[in-house]
């Protein structure tokens, strides 16, 4: 049933794409982009989201609600170089099955791991019909977030902590293609998570794609510059290795895929966006997660 809804969504968005070929550039919501950041300035993006897991990664964590927030900044240090940083935080409400089968509520709140990254524009080909840009991104998550959160029932396991507790370097390649009627962002990313004996979270490799098109145009939203309402469709697929170590859950890792649909209103120096992510396939066995997010990005 859910699969039928997902294909219905793909069909609807596909029709919109074909019917609304307008020559403007949007921005992906959950995918990094090789779109420009002006020299000596930056872009800041604040995201708040909510996630729901119908069944948790282990039988003892059957239901989870999560509120997340991310602040991502990117600064143009040169025409080819940009530096970025990300801060995040999470609050989780878990419904746990106790020893007698009863449900117990658990809660965790704290800062996630900050991340820093650098983007280098490998290729920039601008033409009248659009542009092609290829960028390489290297970054790492830094284990400075909350790793020892506890509630009345004791300390939570490491995979439920806001911080993963390990460095997580990643390499990413981003291709942005913009043509008269559409824009496509493609990203491939590999993340390593070298952990310790008790807790070694799994590595991850993933592919993202984002497609943006215009639904509605405001002729002059700010002086001399129009505004645009975009429809955004994104897909994600990848693989995550199983967590290892004494503190790892008994079942984890596997392939995952999801679909994100959203809208974005962009005008001079600002963009606001709302989106929902639907799982098509998740790691951790039958751990299903839906997510909704809202974000605001602005030029500094």
């Amino acid at each position: 049933m859910r699969s039928r809804h997902a294909w219905g969504l793909v069909w609807t968005v596909g029709c919109c794409v074909l019917l609304c070929p307008v020559s403007v550039l949007g921005a992906p919501i959950g995918v990094r982009t090789a779109a420009p950041v002006h020299v000596g300035g930056g872009v800041l993006r604040l995201e708040v989201g909510w996630r729901y897991a119908a069944r948790g990664p282990a039988p003892s964590f059957p239901v989870a609600h999560e509120a997340t927030s991310f602040l991502t900044g990117m600064w143009g240090v040169g025409r080819r170089w940009a530096l970025g940083a990300e801060l995040g935080g999470a609050a989780r409400w878990l419904s746990v099955r106790g020893p007698g089968g009863e449900r117990l509520a658990r809660r965790v709140l704290g800062a996630g791991d900050p991340a820093i990254f650098v983007r280098w524009m490998l290729l920039q080909h601008d033409a009248r019909s659009g542009f092609v840009r290829l960028a390489a991104i290297a970054g790492t998550g830094i284990p400075l977030g909350a790793q020892r959160q506890a509630d009345a029932l004791g300390r939570l396991p490491p995979w439920q902590q806001p911080s993963e507790g390990v460095w997580s370097p990643w390499l990413e390649a981003v291709l942005t293609v913009q043509r008269t009627a559409w824009q496509l962002d493609l990203s491939g990313r590999a993340t390593w998570r070298p952990g310790g004996v008790d807790w070694d979270p799994g590595e991850e490799a993933r592919l993202d794609a984002s497609w943006q098109y215009v639904l509605w145009r405001v002729p002059e939203m700010t002086e001399g510059v129009p505004g645009f309402l975009y429809g955004v469709l994104e897909g994600r697929m990848g693989w995550r290795g199983a967590h290892q170590g004494r503190l790892a859950p008994f079942r984890s890792g596997g392939t995952f895929a999801s679909l994100l649909a959203g809208v974005q209103l962009a005008w001079e120096g600002h963009a606001v966006e709302v989106a929902a992510r639907l799982p098509l396939r998740r790691p951790f066995g039958k751990h299903d997660t839906v997510a909704a997010l809202a974000a605001w990005r602005f030029d500094l």
Binding site: V24, V39, G40, R128, V225, A271
Partner: protein
């Protein structure tokens, strides 16, 4: 009851008007600015316009920057006392993350033949005076013949070039159409 005259004499009213005047952006009146447009490859991003506006704000005398995404053009006005160097515009566009191609300008002045026989345009605006070399394609000969030995008032549109330290305006073919028409009609 205070009359309008009394109100007008109140110092705070005048101060308020002064502050409003200071706060508002001075608009360039018609004829006091040169109108430019630059072809920007890949220009299609309303969000990115904030960065481009910041880059262009560093150029002298630039105002009223607007974007035409369909034509991939940035349009702007510049105080008539400034003739903008194309390379500075190219750098401003590059700092904004895009690639500039041609910088075009609309100029009004006197066309005349110089001693070496080439056609020149004398522009006087905003207390400044420039002389540009004029170039063009095949239809350019119609303008050259029309100017002949006299100085003629003309309004031209073309690509602004800086070549070997001197200014050149490569006149657009469409801008030469009136002289071609005149030639056809035997004028």
């Amino acid at each position: 009851m205070a009359s309008l005259h009394d109100i007008g004499r109140s110092w705070f009213v005048w101060l308020g008007l002064l502050l409003v005047g200071i706060g508002s952006e001075p608009r360039v009146a018609e004829g006091q600015a040169l109108h430019y447009w630059v072809q920007v490859e890949g220009l299609s991003c309303p969000f990115c316009m904030a960065g481009l506006k910041k880059s262009f704000a560093k150029l002298p005398g630039v105002r009223d920057l607007s974007a035409d995404f369909e034509a991939r053009q940035l349009r702007f006005a510049v105080d008539s006392s400034v003739l903008l160097r194309p390379e500075r515009v190219r750098e401003a566009v590059a700092d904004g993350g895009f690639t500039a191609r041609a910088l075009s300008v609309r100029l009004r002045g006197e066309a005349f033949r110089s001693a070496d026989g080439s056609l020149r345009l004398r522009v006087e605006a905003g207390g400044a005076r420039w002389t540009l070399r004029l170039r063009g394609g095949r239809a350019f000969g119609h303008l050259t013949r029309w100017v002949a030995g006299r100085a003629r008032a003309v309004r031209l549109v073309g690509r602004l070039l800086r070549q070997r330290g001197s200014w050149t305006l490569r006149v657009d073919r469409a801008a030469l159409e009136p002289w071609r028409e005149r030639r056809r009609e035997g004028g």
